[in-house]
Amino acid sequence: MTINNSLASKVTDLLSGLSDHGSQHLTEVESDLIQTNALLTEAIEKLSASFMAIHAAVIEQQHMVDGLATGMLVSPEATSALKAKSTLIDQHVNAAVTGLQFQDMTNQLIGRTLRRVVGFRDLLEVTGTSSIAIPIDASNEQLHGILTHINETLKTESQDLEKELWKAVCQTHMESGDIELF
C-alpha cells in the first residue's frame, strides 16, 4: 500500500467514525425531541379539554346554585343533577392532575438531551484538538498512529457518554402508569 493510500484510508476511517458517532447521537437527540413534543402535545390537549370541561360544568353548576338561591324548590332531579355534576368535576380534575405531570417527564427528557449534546460537543472537541497536534511533516507511520488514537478515543468516549445517559422515561402517552404492591 502506498503512503497516499494509507493516509487516505485513515482519513476515511476518521471521517467515517466521526460521521457515524455524530449520526448516532443526533439520531437519539431527534428521538428524544420527537417524544418530548408528543408528550407536550398530548398533555396540552388533555389539559385544555379537561379544564374546558371543568369550566363548563362549574358554570352550569353555578346556574343551578343560583336557581336555588333565588328560592326555587330543590327537586330530586336537581339534587341528582348536582351530584352528577360534582362527580364529573372530580373526574376532570383527576385527568388534569394526571396531565399536569408532563412537565416532570419532559424535563427529564430535555435534560438527557442536553447532556448528550454537551457530551457530543466534548467528543468532537477531541477530534479537533487531536488534528491540530498532527505535525505537518508527519510520516505515514506517525499519521497512522495519531489517527488510530483519535478513532479509539472517539469510540471510547462515545460509549462512555452512552453509559451516562440512562433512559429513565419511556412513556409515550400520558395515561396513568401501572401500580404494583410487592
Binding site: V97, Q101, C170, G177, E180
Partner: protein
C-alpha cells in the same frame, strides 16, 4: 389524627400534584426536594408512609430507601416508589432496596389515593 406522608421528588410540579391529591384525601403531606432532604426530614419525624422518586440529585430513591431501612424507626414503614421507571430490572432493584410498591408516573389521583389507603388506611 391524620396519617402523615413524606413525598420525595426533585420535581416541584410533581410534588405539587402529589400534595394536592393526598391532602384532598385527608393526609398530612410533607415535601422533600431530593433523597438527602427526604432522609433529613425522615430522621426529624416518623412518617406513616414514604413516597419517593428514583432519579434525583444528591441521593437517589434506592439510596434513600436503603438509608431509611437502616434506621430502626423505618424498618416497618411502608415505602412506595413513584417514578417514570417501569422496567422489571428497576422494580427488582427497588424491591431489593426495601420498597413495598412501585407506581409508574404519571399517576391518577384517585388510584394513588386508593393504594395509599390500602397501605396505611
Amino acid at each position: 389524627m391524620a396519617k402523615t406522608i413524606l413525598a420525595v421528588d426533585d420535581s416541584g410540579s410533581l410534588r405539587q400534584m402529589v400534595v394536592f391529591s393526598l391532602r384532598a384525601a385527608g393526609y398530612q403531606v410533607t415535601e422533600a426536594i431530593d433523597g438527602q432532604d427526604g432522609l433529613d426530614k425522615a430522621q426529624a419525624q416518623i412518617f406513616d408512609l414514604v413516597l419517593t422518586d428514583q432519579n434525583m440529585p444528591r441521593m437517589d430513591g434506592f439510596s434513600l430507601i436503603r438509608a431509611l431501612r437502616a434506621l430502626p424507626t423505618y424498618q416497618k414503614v411502608p415505602i412506595l416508589m413513584l417514578t417514570t421507571e417501569s422496567s422489571d430490572e428497576m422494580k427488582a432493584k427497588g424491591r431489593a432496596a426495601g420498597a413495598n410498591g412501585w407506581l409508574v408516573k404519571p399517576f391518577d389521583p384517585q388510584r394513588l389515593t386508593e393504594v395509599v389507603k390500602k397501605v396505611i388506611g
